[in-house]
Assembly symmetry: C2
DNA sequence: CAAGGGATGTAAGTATATCTGACATCTTTA
DNA sequence: TAAAGATGTCAGATATACTTACATCCCTTG
């Protein structure tokens, strides 16, 4: 869950993603246009990709190389999606989702991730190494 | 070791780092100027930060909040640095270091990290989830 | 084979993000 | 009070990214 949050933080501009995936900007934008990915945006409308996005792009690339077309890839990606569990609270959670703008979410994530010293002074520095949770 | 590589990949532009650390661009640049951090650069000279850089900035911030000045922080960071082990091969490894431009290194890292399908076709898709190695 | 559609390249023009350098401001300390 | 340290702010330049439109290439299908 918290891991999920980390993997979904919008972090990378398209230039970095190009290097990480060896895809062109054209390709990446085209895949977005076809709804294979849904990167976040900065205030100025620049795309911002998460680890999940990059991961997904790598799978897309691999499928492209296997000869799949967009429609096929879309299917595969859908199959790999964990089914969103339909619960009683569906309405409520949907409500909640709407309440949280991307920006607010990002703020939350940041708090949760980095536990900034600002919040509780006097606490020993737990901050250093906090990022190591990104890795195994 | 490989973990080290991942943590040192130049990934983030300054804008993201600002959000992650709640430091201003001015502060980040000032700390670089005072050699507390050494972010990489793009071809166009834009700063690119690694996880290690961000981690370090978070520690710097925490020390700033404790009232340390730059000189003090530099000392603390030096102390926390694992001593570079002086071995017989010092000359050789120094030589090696010089041979690797940042760009070449980055290429290596990318290969090692993402094991691109392009290299060995026919191999089952190990790619999806590869990035999950970034997390525990 | 010709026509059409899918996937990507490329170019133009604009907008956003970042850079450096200089000067301003505020605080602490000698 | 003067000097030095840390940060804010502004300006002008450069880099990066955006959208839109058109071009190209390769398949597929009639």
């Amino acid at each position: 869950m918290s891991d999920d949050i980390r993997r979904n933080m919008a972090l990378f501009p398209i230039g970095i993603v190009m290097k990480l995936t060896d895809l062109t900007a054209r390709q990446i934008r085209y895949y977005e246009q076809n709804e294979l990915i849904h990167p976040a945006r900065t205030e100025g409308k620049q795309r911002l990709f998460s680890f999940n996005d990059v991961d997904r792009l790598l799978e897309i690339k691999s499928l492209i190389e296997k000869g799949l077309n967009i429609a096929g890839i879309k299917q595969v990606l859908l199959l790999n999606e964990p089914e969103p569990v339909i619960t009683e609270i569906t309405e409520k959670s949907e409500q909640k989702r709407k309440e949280l703008s991307d920006k607010e979410l990002h703020e939350m994530l940041k708090q949760q991730l980095f536990n900034p010293a600002a919040s509780r002074l006097g606490e020993p520095s737990l901050i250093r190494g906090e990022l190591s949770r990104f890795f195994h």
